[in-house]
Amino acid sequence: MGQVSTAAPELATVEARRPPGPWRTAGADLLHNRSALAAAVVLFLVVLATLCAPLYAHHVAHTDPFQSHVSGSTVADGKTVPVLTPSSTGLGLGVTPIGPTWDPAHYFLGADNQGRDVMARLLYGGRTSLFIGFTAALLTCALGTVVGVVAGYAGGVVDAVISRVLDVIWAFPVYLLAICLSVVLLTDGLHLGPLTVEAGSLWLPVAIIAAIYVPYIARPLRGQVLVLRNKEYIQAAIGSGAPTVRILRREVLPNVLPTAIVFVPLMTALAMLTESALSFLSVGVQPPDASWGTIIEDGLGLLYTRPAVTIAPGLLIALTTAALNVLGDGVRDALDPGARLRGGV
């Protein structure tokens, strides 16, 4: 979708009748897609709710979701009750936290086994999950585009080396690679030249997730660029002595950008699912930070007594990723580059 030159004077005078550009057409298509719009509204509400996390914690629930309240008490049904009750069965080591009270001011969804307000943690955890999902997806798409374009355009040795590296990452089951990297990097963080990521930082899962999905973007884009490179207008640009950077920026990039954009919502969904799985296996987001995955893990010990702790974050992940997938399908239909994402586990 390179810029069409309208240099001829008689064409310039009929400016008003020029058809809308591809981006505007795609935007209009998306606005007429009801399910995509509904998905966008759902996403907006989820993001808005997580942005209101401090508001809820400080002014409604009056609690610090990162501080344990082991010996605290709260009000349920007009009575003062302890947040944690020592469990009467078993060896006496376990505790049963208060269940959902459905009262926003007092443990709306109950507490976890450290007496922390699950609702407030959900809102804060959502910020983490959305942040990691979205940043990792943007990074993957940016990196994948650069790698794919360079490999496809340069060809020869550069392409061969990049393609083999992508093959190796591709041949690793994604979750195994992500867990391998997480286990190793969690001990001492990531040190890559001047770049340092601390072990407990949220950027660590972002970097890992972004890296493992690069082949998913780079491979299809490389294929597109290989085809583009033989098109007459690119050959003409090369022949007219245009600098490579200019050809890449003005001719190649505008053509592959729709594919990269289509991947962003789908990749965000995939990255959020990956983050939650890593956190569930306790190699993702590290305490004191919380994400929807870590809350599910916290709830595992309480699964049979206080299932809300596990069910609520899972439902939120499912809702958000479903909305992202529907929105992604809408964006794909609007831009229609025929891209297809391989499913993860």
């Binding site: 591709w170 995955g293 595992l300 992940i317 499912a318």
Partner: protein, 322 residues
């Protein structure tokens, strides 16, 4: 064709070699990671650390260590775990394989059958109310976190409805097929359904797209002109051609799952398969076991990739020159 096959397998071998080097580097060359410190335990004094390093061969140069490990893994086949001394890697993998195969083959049968039925039905009913409904199931499938779905299934079958509807569901775990086929199936039923739900939707969505495209092709119009019934056209003509991309995707997914990608399902349902073995080894930085399982996983993924490429080349000679 033979040349293509030989070339394809040679590159598959190269990829596997590169993966083994990559895993080795991840665990031995990442700054701050010291397997000896993990083996020796917390607060080990320098003398103990040095002794551990020596007895595990961790004081040798990196390439020697790599070659020794690969020799013990592939040629002598006596590589031992760092953490459970005396326990060999290969028997552990051999023991875990039937568990993973049981899980994956059962789930694959269910998701392929469900995917083909749902996808074909959605294509046949396109434009009617059932089509978006079937596709909604597809979106749900790709959006659910696998481990969470497993936990919810456990919650429902083991606790909430265990005293009424699901009293026949055994506690999570695995029973060997040769030991008691009935119990084997009973223990695996919910893991199968959980894993299948995650894939059935993707397959249905993909197949629907392919069948709808095929139904607009000239050969379908010819079939209609010959007076064939819609049902025969759908199943014998459109569906048959649409299955090729599905089968190739299936090859890749199946390869990855057999190699341990069903890790989360195995962990949640307490199935001692390859995924669980890998995960436990990863948590202990038990490099020999990790090396064994990751190479095992890569073997299946690379093999599946190669077979899919060869299948494509067989069907479409142009792919041989790509």
């Amino acid at each position: 064709m033979l040349r293509f096959i030989v070339k394809r397998f040679a590159s598959a071998l190269l990829v596997m070699f590169a993966i083994s080097v990559l895993v080795f580097l991840i665990f031995f060359a990442t700054p701050g990671v010291d397997p000896a410190a993990r083996i020796a335990g917390r607060n080990a004094d320098p003398a103990t650390l040095a002794q551990v390093r020596h007895s595990f061969g961790l004081d040798r140069p990196m390439p020697i260590r790599y070659l020794l490990m690969m020799r013990h893994l592939l040629i002598d086949r006596d590589l031992e775990s760092f953490v459970n001394r005396g326990s060999r890697v290969i028997p552990q993998i051999v023991q875990a394989t039937p568990v993973t195969l049981s899980l994956v083959i059962g789930a694959a049968l269910i998701w392929m059958a469900a995917g083909i039925i749902m996808g074909t039905a959605a294509a046949a009913l396109r434009g009617k109310a059932a089509d978006p409904l079937i596709m909604l199931v597809g979106v749900v499938g790709v959006s659910l976190p696998a481990y969470w779905l497993g936990e919810v299934v456990n919650l429902i079958t083991q606790k909430q409805l265990h005293s009424s509807v699901f009293s026949w569901v055994p506690p999570p775990g695995y029973v060997d097929l040769s030991h008691d086929p009935g119990q084997w199936a009973l223990h695996l039923l919910f893991p199968w359904l959980t894993l299948a739900l995650l894939y059935a939707g993707i397959y249905a969505r993909l197949l629907r797209g392919e069948v709808v495209t095929a139904l607009n092709e000239d050969y379908v119009r010819t079939a209609r002109a010959k007076g064939l019934s819609e049902r025969r056209i759908l199943i014998r003509h459109a569906l048959r051609c649409s299955l090729i991309p599905i089968v190739s995707l299936f090859g890749l997914d199946f390869g990855a799952l057999v190699g341990g990608a069903a890790l989360l399902t195995e962990v949640v349902f307490g199935l001692p398969g390859i995924g669980k073995l890998t995960f436990d080894a990863l948590q202990n930085l038990d490099l020999p076991v990790i090396m064994g399982t990751v190479l095992y996983a890569a073997f299946f993924v690379v093999l599946a990739n190669a077979l899919v490429d060869i299948l494509y080349a067989r069907l479409d000679p142009r792919a041989r020159h790509a």
